[in-house]
């Protein structure tokens, strides 16, 4: 009798153990490993970039702990719920963006923040990074694919309004990322390459129009990018100093916390947008190769997860989110190393900062949801 009882307890706990698998948690271990590796490495670089400040590292670790919880939470929603929720979410974020335009908080020459006094202060444009791919994916997944002219037109309208609002704040970096997330959904949906070529042609033709609609500081950034030496102490300073930091790092780097460019404060924004220059200076080309490999594996795993999604909405959403993540990395590293103009895009998972990391992790939560939910979702 007693033996039976204990056997029963043993079997039950074993079953429960089996039930508590990665899939029941709706997590992907490989993606999680890559994320944790990059975040941990990022904290090490941040400690050096922030002038050996444990305070900065603690704040960042706490923020990521919270972001991981949010990721875990969002991963529990089934893609179908997200699809249903997409339109409502989209409308709410649009309303928030309009509210920012009317009653938003100014900071650093832009109006980006919405403040509920004493509770929270956030950028609605960050939420659009999630709402946009969700909405476009939700729309296209109900259409016959590949999308036609009409679908494309609807998508451009859905994309154009919020992007215009964000660009008007002004926030070039975010509006660009939001655009990218929408474009990736459309491309992944199978938009014919002919359409892509025509649109690219229009895009190039529209460049001068863009130029005349840019703010003075944005134009200055583009000009500085084209010739940083023209104003070495003004706007060109950042690029010259970050290139110097990267270049002086060499193959092996100057060593952790030994980077003269970053430790002696020549490098601007060294714990936020330009943190990769600190890494390149202190860990050299080897450090950069390791970082880029981690990102590459993360993106590849993400793409694979998207292909394994059960439905079109999940695939499109997952694919768009991971490719937008790629744009993040590429634009940031590109601008710090001087191949792209300076736009305010942080290095994902590493740069010190608020809302961006939360939305990123929420995005990874969605990616995990679309990957893990298809077997358990009833047809």
């Amino acid at each position: 009798m007693m033996m039976d009882y204990w056997q029963r307890v043993y079997r039950r706990s074993r079953r429960q153990y089996q039930r508590l698998s990665w899939r029941t948690l709706h997590l992907d271990p490989w993606l999680l490993l890559a994320l944790l590796t990059i975040v941990a490495g990022g904290l090490i670089v941040l400690y050096s970039a922030g002038g050996e400040s444990t305070h900065l590292v603690e704040a960042q670790a706490l923020r990521f702990a919270a972001a991981f919880l949010i990721m875990l939470l969002i991963a529990q929603f089934s893609p179908r719920t997200m699809q249903r929720f997409a339109w409502f979410f989209y409308v709410v974020v649009i309303l928030m963006l309009v509210a920012v335009d009317v009653i938003g908080t100014h900071a650093m020459g832009a109006q980006r923040w919405l403040t509920i006094p004493g509770v929270i202060r956030f950028q609605p444009s960050e939420l659009m990074k999630l709402a946009m791919p969700m909405t476009i994916a939700a729309y296209l997944s109900r259409r016959v694919l590949p999308p036609g002219w009409l679908d494309l037109l609807v998508c451009l309208l859905l994309m154009g309004f919020p992007v215009a609002l964000i660009a008007n704040q002004p926030d070039l970096g975010t509006s660009m990322l939001v655009t990218a997330s929408a474009v990736f959904v459309i491309l992944l949906a199978g938009l014919s390459w002919r359409f892509v070529a025509v649109c690219a042609g229009f895009g190039i033709a529209a460049m001068p129009l863009l130029w005349f609609n840019m703010h003075q500081y944005q134009r200055q950034r583009v000009l500085t990018f084209l010739n940083p030496e023209s104003d070495p102490l003004g706007t060109g300073w950042n690029i010259i100093q970050s290139k110097t930091a990267i270049g002086s790092g060499g193959i092996h780097g100057k060593g952790w916390m030994q980077g003269t460019q970053s430790q002696l404060e020549f490098l601007p924004e060294r714990h936020t947008d330009f943190i990769v220059a600190v890494l390149a200076e202190e860990f050299g080309l080897i450090g950069m190769a390791v970082l880029m490999s981690c990102y590459l594996l993360l993106i590849w795993r993400g793409l694979y997860m998207a292909t394994q999604a059960h439905d079109t909405f999940g695939r499109l959403l997952g694919g768009s989110l991971i490719l937008t993540f790629f744009v993040y990395v590429f634009v940031n590293v590109g601008m710090v190393s001087g191949v792209l103009p300076v736009v305010g895009v942080p290095l994902p998972l590493i740069s010190y900062g608020g809302t961006a990391s939360v939305t990123l992790m929420a995005g990874f939560g969605m990616l995990m949801a679309v990957f893990t939910h298809h077997k358990t979702t009833p047809r």
């Binding site: 259409r143 290139k243 930091a245 990267i246 270049g247 003269t260 002696l264 490719l323």
Partner: protein, 638 residues
């Protein structure tokens, strides 16, 4: 909207499209990342050298380390120019946080008077580079330093900064000969190696400080410091220490110098004393003097104007630059010239009726004693300072030979070794007059020059040098002020020393010495009043230079004008006659008769120099004698 058609086939086709697009995306990502890595290779491998240089240039700053200026001592090793530490209060605004609060605390701590409050606030707002300290107060006293030290924790960014500045303990009586240092001006920039002066604020402007500037200054060092982007030095990487300037020991005796200053007090004049054997200048006094310390940190314009416009010209170094007719002090040199040229024999006499007349000229050139000295030979002519004898000699010699021979005594040229800005005087000649006035030389002018007047001008330094040469029996040593520079002794022979004055018969020197000794000790000697109770053998020669031009002084009031028309009193002397230890020249502007006014001063200077050394040598002699007699006693005792 079309009806939903989620057929299995559609779904599979869509999945296939997506998979295809994903593969394209994966390649795209790979290519783009490869591009970024390529960029990194370009920056970190190919262009690494350029950027490592740039980053080093960013962080390293080369800072000059100024050397400490060498000290100046007199011959007794008393300091006459030293470096005084001063303490300045500075504020680095970037570190201060709330600047106005810090200033308010400072005012409270130092208990500053209200009128300084605004000055302090203004200085704290001065436009500076970031992290450059603003100078709030200079020359803090010890009480202030202590109070700031105690309250330091309440004064972020406030520093007490030490700086060495020049200090001249003797002030007025050394000011002319030492000169002074001052802030480096644009003019000074022309004559210095600016890299060596990068951290130096002061440079020698006049006098010894100017002449020995290179030696006193030393060699600047450098240090490389690591700075942050705001230019703040964080740590020192390496340094080449500065080499301090060399210390300078002067030939001057500050006690003798001070005595000269006291003897001339209230007068305008100069004294130059030289050790004949070595050419060492023992004293070089010019009165009135000024406090050269005022010039170190920069004199205010009002005080400077007061000094500059003073009718007594305290800034003027009379000893080395003042030009006066040497008057009768030249008579011994004239006599030596007459002997050498064979124009006179020592025993030859001239009858002096009280005046001299050129042949075929009715004009009478008067002796100073209106009724004349009667028959005078060479020695008597010097002793009583007879003019007629020397008019006659000068006329026979002619200006050409006269001028040539007097050049041998250094007149008309500056032969000093290291006296900055020494004047060259004026030894007139036929050529000079033609060049200057485009006029022929008149014989009557030779007569004036023959008694040291007319166009003839000499500096007190030249007069002292000439009498030292005479005391040396014609042997030349260039007068100089430095005895030792660092480890290097400054001693004759010097380069460019003029040829010695040579007489055919060396005994003639003795005759001249005797004549000059008679000036002091003879019954007729012009300086006999100052020659009473001499404890050593002194030779001298008085001179009284007429001031006959009003010149630019005409604007002064009557009383002053009268005073300034008085004769200049001169006296040259040396002693002891058999072994000269000191030769000197004294000049008192508008002092009157040389024997009456200048001679007593010369006597006091000589006493002060010779008596102490005599006393000690006498004592030594006495000791020696005692020892000797004691030894003899022992010998006889045996």
């Amino acid at each position: 909207m079309r009806p939903r058609r989620a057929t299995l086939k559609d779904s599979e086709q869509q999945a296939r499209i997506f998979r295809h697009r994903s593969i394209v995306a994966a390649f795209f990502v790979l290519i783009m990342f490869s591009g970024l890595i390529g960029r990194m290779v370009w920056l970190q491998v190919v262009q690494h050298d350029i950027f490592i240089t740039r980053s080093d240039k960013n962080r390293m700053r080369v800072e000059p380390l100024p050397p400490n200026r060498g000290l100046i001592f007199d011959r007794n090793h008393d300091v006459v120019a030293e470096n005084r530490p001063t303490y300045n209060l500075t504020l680095v605004r970037e570190q201060a946080g709330d600047v106005s609060q810090t200033i308010a605390r400072l005012i409270d701590i130092l208990d500053l008077p209200p009128e300084e409050h605004d000055v302090l606030a203004q200085r704290s707002r001065e436009r500076l580079r970031s992290y450059e300290p603003a100078l709030l107060l200079s020359d803090l006293n010890e009480g202030q330093i202590a109070r700031i030290a105690v309250n330091r924790y309440r004064l972020p960014g406030v520093e007490v900064e030490a700086q060495l500045i020049r200090y001249y303990p003797d002030g007025e009586w050394m000011s002319h000969v030492l000169g002074y240092v001052g802030r480096i001006s644009q003019e000074d920039q022309q004559r210095i190696d600016t890299s060596n002066y990068a951290g130096t604020h002061f440079i020698g402007k006049t006098g010894i400080e100017r002449f020995y500037e290179d030696e006193l200054h030393g060699q600047a060092g450098v240090r490389r410091v690591e700075t942050n982007a705001r230019g703040r030095a964080l740590r020192e990487i390496d340094r080449t220490p500065p080499q301090p300037g060399k210390n300078l020991t002067l030939t001057l005796d500050s006690k003798l110098q001070k005595l000269g200053h006291e003897l001339l007090k209230g007068k305008r004049g100069a004294i130059v004393a030289i050790e004949p054997a070595s050419g060492a200048i023992l004293a070089m006094v010019s009165e009135p003097g000024f406090d050269n310390n005022k010039f170190v940190t920069g004199i205010d314009t009002k005080s400077y104007a007061a000094l500059r416009d003073d009718v007594d010209m305290p800034l003027y170094n009379r000893a080395s630059r003042g030009q006066y007719p040497p008057a009768s002090t030249v008579k011994p040199y004239m006599a030596s010239a007459g002997l050498e040229y064979g124009l006179i024999q020592p025993s030859d006499t001239v009858y002096d009726p009280g005046y001299y007349q050129l042949p075929n000229d009715s004009r009478r050139y008067r002796n100073w004693l209106r009724w004349g000295h009667g028959r005078v030979d060479m020695k008597r002519a010097i002793t009583v300072s007879n003019d007629t004898y020397f008019f006659s000699l000068a006329h026979r010699m002619g200006i050409d030979r006269l001028s040539e021979f007097m050049h041998k005594y250094g007149f008309g040229e500056d032969h000093s070794l290291d006296v900055w800005g020494a004047g060259s005087g004026l030894m007139p000649s036929r050529d000079w007059k033609r060049g200057r006035y485009n006029q022929a030389w008149y014989p009557g002018e030779t007569l004036s020059v023959g008694i040291g007047q007319g166009y003839w001008l000499a500096t007190p330094l030249q007069m002292a040098t000439a009498v030292a040469v005479l005391a040396n029996d014609g042997k030349w040593v260039r007068p100089h002020l430095a005895m030792q520079v660092g480890d290097e002794k400054i001693a004759p022979p010097f380069e460019n020393t003029p040829d010695d004055v040579e007489l055919d018969n060396p005994r003639w020197w003795d005759l001249i010495h005797q004549a000059m000794e008679n000036v002091m000790s003879g019954s007729e000697g012009s300086g006999r009043a100052s020659g009473r109770n001499l404890q050593y053998r002194m030779a001298g020669k008085s001179g009284t230079a007429q001031v006959f031009t009003l010149g630019q002084k005409e604007k002064y009031n009557a009383a002053e004008l009268e005073e300034r028309l008085h004769d200049h009193a001169l006296f040259t002397a040396y002693a002891p006659v058999d072994d000269p230890k000191i030769a000197l020249a004294v000049i008192i502007e508008n002092g009157g008769g040389g024997s009456k006014v200048a001679a007593p001063i010369a006597r006091e200077m000589l006493d002060a120099w010779i008596l102490p050394s005599m006393k000690s040598s006498e004592e030594a002699q006495r000791h020696a004698q005692q020892n000797e007699s004691a030894a003899q006693q022992i010998v006889t005792g045996d």
